[in-house]
Every structure is written in C-alpha cells, then in structure tokens.
Symmetry: C2
Subunit: 266 residues, 2 copies
C-alpha cells in the first residue's frame, strides 16, 4: 500500500463485484465530523476502482450528503450505470453499519485528449502572495483536517482567523498535502472542500454543513502546490453556494467546484 | 390536466410505487434531440410527484446524461434514498424502451424558511435592455424549443445569431413561457438550459452536448419574465463549463446552474 496518508485513507478492498470495504479515517475531521470533500474523494476512489479497467478519468463528481459520516468501517456499493465508448457513468453509495450516508454520482471520460476545437479561457489563477508570505494558522485540535495540508492563506482572506473579518466571502491560498503526496484527480474533491467556509470572511458561525458538492475535473494536476480560491456570492434564505477553483503550479485550472450548503443558525 | 404545455409535457402517471410513465415531448427539441434542461425538469417532475406528501422544495438537482433522449414514451423509476426531518434525497432514472438515458439526483428541503442567520449577496441581476429593445430571433424549424419561450436577448450577446460574434462566451436576456405559464421551481432546470450555448459568442459550432447539469434552486420565482445570464469561462481540453443565473422580476436570484459539456468537433 502507498505510504501516503491520503492513499491509506481512501483504500478499498473488493468484497464482491460492486462491493468495496474500507476505513473512514479521522484524519479529515472538523470536530467529530469527517469533512465532506474527504467523503467525496472516498466515493470517487471506489468508483475509480470499479472503473479501473476502462482507463478513464473522472470528469464530473456530485456528492449528496445524507447524514454525517463517522470514523470507522465504511462500505461502498458501486453500480456502473453506463459504460459507453467515450463516457462512463457510475453511482457509489457509501454506508456505515448498514446506513447510507452519502451518494456519489460521477461521469468518466478522457481528459487532455488531442482535440481542442475551441479554446477560450477568461478566468485566471487567484493572485496570492508568495507561499512564504502567506498566513499559516497554528495547529488546532478541533480542525484535525488542517494537519493533512501544508496551507498558506492569503492574509487578507484569512483575516477572520485572527479576528479581523475581511467583509468578503472569499478565502484563497496555496494548498498541498503535508506528506508530499502529489495532487491527482482522485484527491481534488478533497482539496475542493479543504479550506474553511468562504462565508467566514463575513461571519464566523458554526460549521457549514454541505448538502451537495459537485466537482468538475478539468486537467490532471502537476505536482506541487495548488492555488485555491473559494467564494460565496449568494448567502441568503438559510443557504449558500460556494464556488471553488483549483489551479496547479503550471497555471492550469484543474478543478472547479460548487457546493450548496446550509447556513448554520449561529 | 393543466392547459399549459410545460405541465402537459412533464405529466407522469403512477404505475406502481416508485414507477411513473409519461410522454417525452418533441416541443423542446434542437433538431432531433430533446433539450437537456427539459430532461432535467422531467426527472424533477417525477421526483416531485414521489415526494409530494413531504411538501418540500427541490434545492439541488443534478442530471447526468447517458445518451440522447427520444420523443416518445418515457418511464421514471424513483427511489427515495433518504427522507429526513429537514431534507430528503431521491434518485430518478429515466428510461425509454428499457434503456436508461438520464439519471437525476436531487435533495429537497424548505426554501424561504424564516431563518436567515447571515445575509450577504454580492451578485446582481444581469443588466439588460428593456424587453421591447432586445433581439427576438425569427422562428426556426430546427430550434423547436425556442417556440416554447418568449425570449428577448441582449443584442450584443446574441450578435452571432446575425453573424456578428461578440468574442465573449456570454448570452443573456429575458425569458418566459410563451403560453403565459408562470415559472416555478420544477421548470427552472428547463429555463437553465433554454438559451443557446454561451460559447456561440466565441464560435458557433455544432450543438454542445451536456454531460452533467446541476441546478441550485434558491427561491420560488415570482410570475413574469426571468432574467437569465449564461457564461463559459473555461473552454479548453474539449470541455467547457457553463454557469447560469436566473433572476425573477423582483430581482431575486431563483436559480444558479452549472453544466459540464463537450465542445463539439466542428
């Protein structure tokens, strides 16, 4: 097995066709609750195993969260809904003690094929100070997930960590695995939910539970840091969207994410 | 049955618990292929029927397209994955002649509850000329779907319809049902895919097939026109994202959409 924590924490054994067993790790907890991006990457790992023969890349991965996950044994039941010439679609149901806690629906295809009939990119990587000049929060026993990453936040967007709200629902910074594991497609859903809620720039509340997270994988990331930016433009009615972009060190957009989350009562 | 076309075209009869039958209409075709937003609204209609007793609103609806739909009979097999106190999650599989063509996964909850612990809205409705000053394209036998809507495009963003590319992957305008039916949550996925691809502002290609479409429903729309804007910022590697916003006449964001689509070869 790989020596990297993420690989160990997303490892599944095949029990029978379509049924996989693993351990849901406590390494990505926020307090008692495992992070939603980790759960999405866990589901994607089971899907990737089930589709391993097809040599396809995940393109779009949607996770709906039914209830909080718990640290401990986890089962993934995978159904390949369609395997076509170009695309494959599959569904993973994650359960613990017989109770489903997440559903992951994904379509696979081939990234970085030769064809590029139209190219038009108007987005750009977030502007960030050099890694050494960013804000690196001290270790925190509650935010266990933070230990898995080497993170350098843009100081302004992370001002609330030092009790200075920025007034903007945006958080951005550099991000990589603390143990040196290179980012890959399978880990991008975790990266897409690895920073604190963008909303905390406006108001620090209780944790923001994700209802649904969709990640588009757009390119295989190069080794090194990812540049990440997360923004919420529509916080109202008790819900919010959070849009994320992950860029690799080459300046290539490797993932776009959007989640719908519940604004906590306090 | 309702006299409105959309209601007729999304009508399902319950065959047995969890199984519904309807007719997939030709009213939303682009050439031979029914529109993806219509397919998403069709799936949402079956889900809404299955969850009718729970009086919940759809919050997030993701559709993965397995193959093109066809005009004719359609079956929806609905599974309520979880019915909780606040949220319900359900899955619809749409099939024709025994072959699945779309999977719709949605979470339901209650919109416009009393709680609004944080409010922070930085987005704004798209700026548009008055409805009377917009561009209204002539009827077109290929784009059958256009007949279902009363649409007034921002002339610049729709310049390609008169062979003037805008150089920008954005399309925006006013949009409502041609027969006077008010927009509602169930029809918003259709509205979220009812304009031509934003990419056509850069290059008019063959039709752009959607791989996955996610729509967040944020408020029940007021009667009248919707203001719609769709943008693609990342067209590369043979894929594109298209982000949409739908605002109602009160100036409330009623839906946000994002799709991943394939850039056609020509």
């Amino acid at each position: 097995m790989s020596a990297y924590t993420f690989d160990q924490d997303t490892h599944f054994e095949r029990v029978e066709p379509g049924l996989y067993r693993g351990q849901l790790s406590g390494n990505y907890n926020i307090g008692p609750v495992p992070n939603g991006g980790y759960v999405a990457s866990l589901g994607l790992s089971a899907l990737t195993l089930a589709l391993a023969d097809s040599e396809r890349d995940p393109l779009s991965v949607t996770t709906h969260y039914l209830r909080p996950a718990r640290v401990g044994p986890v089962e993934a039941r995978v159904e390949v809904v369609k395997q076509g010439k170009r695309f494959a679609t599959a569904l993973a149901r994650l359960s613990q003690e017989g109770q489903e806690h997440a559903i992951v629906l994904a379509t696979f295809g081939v990234l970085e094929g030769a064809r590029e009939p139209v190219r038009h990119v108007t987005g750009a990587p977030p502007s960030l100070p050099p890694v050494a000049d960013g804000f690196r929060p001290p270790a925190n026993d509650f935010i266990v997930i933070a230990r898995q990453f080497d993170t350098s936040y843009d100081p302004e967007s992370a001002g609330w960590m030092q009790r200075r709200g920025s007034g903007r629902a945006e958080i951005k910074g550099w991000l990589r695995f603390a143990d040196g594991r290179a980012p890959d497609l399978r880990s991008l859903p975790l990266f897409a939910d690895a920073m604190p809620p963008a909303m905390f720039g406006v108001k620090v509340t209780g944790w923001v539970p994700t209802i649904e997270l969709t990640v588009h994988l757009r390119a295989r990331p190069a080794p090194g840091f990812l540049r990440a930016v997360f923004t919420s433009r529509f916080i109202f009615g008790g819900f919010l969207e959070e849009d994320g972009e992950l860029w690799d060190e080459r300046g290539v957009l490797v993932a776009q994410s959007r989640q719908l989350a519940q604004v906590p009562d306090r």
